[in-house]
């Protein structure tokens, strides 16, 4: 029983991280209908940048981390301006393919620059683990959990009430209309990519601190898909919840597996079965907006 309980706690913690990545994914989607296949690489770039600042420059974490965030912000803007801006107005599917291209480029570039071997972060927190409900948890997870909750709340407010948030949604719905309203589509896109890159970096650094940085980090980019879809593509709350669900599901599946089934990798597959099941009942995920079907 304690095992199950501990696994659930673990699921929530990891799930929160999925949630953060899912949110940054949803952000881009909400603003531009672009499915960002390079999301995982954003994590990777964030993590490597922070790692580099901390090891090569020997910066303390509380300086290196903010610099990382600023860098990612700029990175997001530059990426948008250089690569994605020329694609404005082009078929979405082409833009999605571009993000796939980007993920290939970044993946390889990171390996080139930092090698293929996982590199550990220097120790950041005085006590690297803490006790939560009897489970030893990495401190960085707990800290990032707190940050995540803040980010999540911020996003929720942003899209519902802020002027820019509305403008982003409008841009996503119809770029031409958005322009006719005086919204600069370029600005909106640049902003969404910048914020998304920054938020991803938070997740990237967290995972990096726990497991060391390696190109494997980018698999989070794929992990977010079930999370995002479970929650509903365009829902911030959904993304968070989807992340938590996937996290818990994985651990639950692992529990069943290790105790009874002994199939081995239920851990990876179970969320997908559940995903399909949920979608059959709720075709727009738990919180996604239904498409408006009118003639």
């Amino acid at each position: 029983m304690t095992l199950l309980f501990q696994l659930l706690v673990n699921g929530l913690i990891v799930g929160a991280l999925y949630g953060v990545v899912a949110m940054s994914f949803v952000l881009i989607y909400k603003a531009s209908r672009i499915v960002n296949f390079a999301q995982g690489e954003f994590l990777l770039i964030g993590a490597w940048t922070c790692w580099w600042l901390l090891t090569s420059w020997q910066l303390p974490f509380w300086i290196g981390f903010p610099i990382t965030l600023v860098f990612m912000l700029i990175f997001g803007v530059v990426l948008q301006v250089v690569v994605l801006r020329p694609m404005i107005g082009e078929p979405i599917i082409s833009v999605i393919m571009v993000t796939i291209g980007l993920s290939i480029v970044f993946q390889a570039a990171m390996k080139w620059m930092f090698g293929v071997f996982a590199k550990p972060f220097p120790q950041i927190f005085a006590s690297p683990t803490m006790d939560i409900f009897g489970l030893q948890v990495q401190t960085v997870y707990v800290v990032s959990l707190a940050i995540s909750i803040l980010i999540m709340a911020g996003f929720g407010w942003f899209f519902k009430y802020s002027r820019l948030g509305l403008a982003m949604r409008a841009t996503a719905f119809d770029q031409q209309v958005a322009q006719s309203l005086g919204i600069s589509v370029r600005q909106m896109f640049a902003m969404s990519w910048a914020i998304s890159a920054m938020v991803s970096a938070v997740a990237g650094v967290t995972v990096g601190v726990v497991n060391g940085v390696s190109s494997a980090l980018s698999f989070f980019g794929i992990k977010v898909f079930p999370a995002v879809i479970l929650g509903g593509l365009d829902s911030v709350i959904g993304a968070v919840l989807g992340g938590l669900i996937v996290g818990v599901l994985e651990n639950l599946a692992h529990y069943l597996d290790s105790q009874w089934l002994n199939w081995g990798n239920m851990y990876e597959i179970a969320p997908f079965y559940v995903l399909i099941a949920i979608l059959m009942v709720k075709p727009y995920g738990l919180f996604g907006t239904k498409d408006i079907e009118r003639v």
């Binding site: 304690t2 095992l3 501990q6 696994l7 673990n10 699921g11 990891v14 090891t55 390889a108 390996k111 090698g115 293929v116 071997f117 996982a118 590199k119 550990p120 220097p122 120790q123 690297p128 683990t129 489970l135 030893q136 948890v137 990495q138 995972v207 726990v210 497991n211 060391g212 390696s214 494997a216 980090l217 698999f219 994985e250 651990n251 692992h254 529990y255 290790s258 002994n262 081995g264 990798n265 851990y267 990876e268």
Partner: protein, 403 residues
């Protein structure tokens, strides 16, 4: 020229160890070319990164294995691809040296009692995965007694569901039973680094005492760290590719106490007559001569040297063709390539048994808490130490051939 194909994993799931190994092979072959090649003829080595994907390896092999510049020998890598290619290299008579030490590759005749397929053209340098695991299990049984453990020790196999980690699974579990272990269900984790807290929690819950880590360093590190965090007290036994200096540094204190087999007699920091040659070779890709080479580099060099010496013999006895290279492999006993004395371990291959060696050198990693510095410095400072704790002579049982 003598065409040689070289399949390397520089970007795939096992690139963490694939890169140094492939570098070792490439540097060694370049070095040997510099020394005049095979009887004055140079080796034309084509190194291809196949990303640890068997299908890609096979399609590459197909390009190499036909036409006028058909390769004379293959330097391969993974278990999945090498096993998949076994039938092909057998048919095409191309000796394949691999980084895979799967026991299945050790049976040239296919007469092994465990239904192995004939692998007449497969060679590798080092004890097979199965024999290494057997060695470690034998050590573990002793260790349990020595520590005064009560009851049956519990053993679990860990690794991805993939031919490479799976290769020694049955052999290990079988022997563990015979040695009096309680064998628990295997625990799966992917070949990539990730969060394996869940696996460690199960490990802890089930009270495993000895666990085999079948993956490569990158993902093993994640497991070690996660298990340290949740406080699972397990004696981990790493695969030969599962632990090295880089891994020790990356895992930090979590890697402290992990045991693993080593193929060479020394590490980069060690001293042996052959290390002079080693350092020369290393300069080919590191002119400054400052790089610290992990154990896999040395293994790569050894493998390349065996192939080259076999080619030397073949050149004198019927030409550098597949069949004569194969024959050459059987010519020596307790063979150590010239120039690498004290580095490569004496090996013997015979027409009916491709288990080059069965003695397993077991090392233990001792790692201090802070591993911030470079590997070279850490090793120098003694923060990372790899110490030999035992040499187990695994019996060359006929029923273990090809298994």
């Amino acid at each position: 020229d003598i065409p040689v194909g070289h399949l390397a994993d520089q970007s795939g799931g096992t690139s963490d160890v694939g890169v140094p190994y492939a570098q070792g092979v490439a540097d060694a072959l370049a070095y040997l070319n510099g020394k005049g090649g095979v009887n004055g003829v140079k080796l034309a080595v084509d190194t291809v990164d196949y990303g640890y994907q068997a299908p890609r390896a096979i399609s590459q092999y197909k390009k190499w294995s036909s036409g006028s510049d058909k390769i004379a020998a293959l330097q391969g890598w993974g278990t999945a691809d090498t096993e998949a290619l076994t039938a092909f290299v057998g048919k095409d008579e191309i000796p394949a040296y691999s980084g895979s030490y799967s026991g299945h590759l050790t049976d040239p005749t296919g007469k092994g009692p465990h239904g192995s397929k004939p692998a007449p053209y497969n060679f590798f340098y080092g004890p097979s995965y199965s024999d290494s695991l057997r060695g470690m299990l034998m050590w573990a049984a002793e260790d349990w007694k020595k520590k005064g453990g009560s009851g049956k020790p519990k053993y679990a196999h860990m690794g991805a569901n993939h031919p490479y980690p799976n290769a020694p699974k049955d052999a290990g579990e079988q022997l563990a039973k015979e040695l009096g272990f309680e064998v628990l269900p295997p625990i799966q984790f992917a070949l990539t680094p990730g969060d394996y807290t869940a696996q460690c929690l199960t490990l802890k819950e089930s009270g495993v005492n000895y666990a085999y880590l079948g993956n490569t360093a990158g993902s093993n590190i994640s497991v070690l760290k996660a298990c340290q965090t949740v406080g699972a007290k397990v004696q981990f036994m790493g695969n030969v590719w599962g632990m090295d200096e880089n891994a020790a540094k990356a895992a930090g204190a979590a890697a402290d106490g992990v045991v693993f087999p080593m193929r060479t007699a020394v590490t980069w920091a060690g001293s042996a007559p052959g290390m002079a040659t080693m350092k020369e070779i290393s300069k080919l890709s590191d002119a400054a001569g400052t790089a610290y080479r992990p154990v896999h580099y040395l293994a790569g060099v050894c493998t390349a040297f065996y192939m080259k010496e076999a080619m030397d013999w073949a050149a004198k006895n019927g030409g550098v063709t597949g069949p004569s290279i194969r024959k050459a492999m059987y010519q020596k006993k307790d063979w150590v390539p010239a120039g690498l004395e004290g580095v490569c371990m004496p090996s013997t291959w015979t027409e009916t048994d491709h288990r080059g060696m069965t003695s397993v050198n077991i090392y233990r990693a001792s790692v201090a808490a802070d591993t911030g510095a470079s590997v070279a410095d850490l090793v120098k400072a003694g923060s990372i130490k790899l110490d030999k704790i035992a040499t187990v002579e695994v019996p060359r049982k006929p029923e273990w051939l090809g298994w």
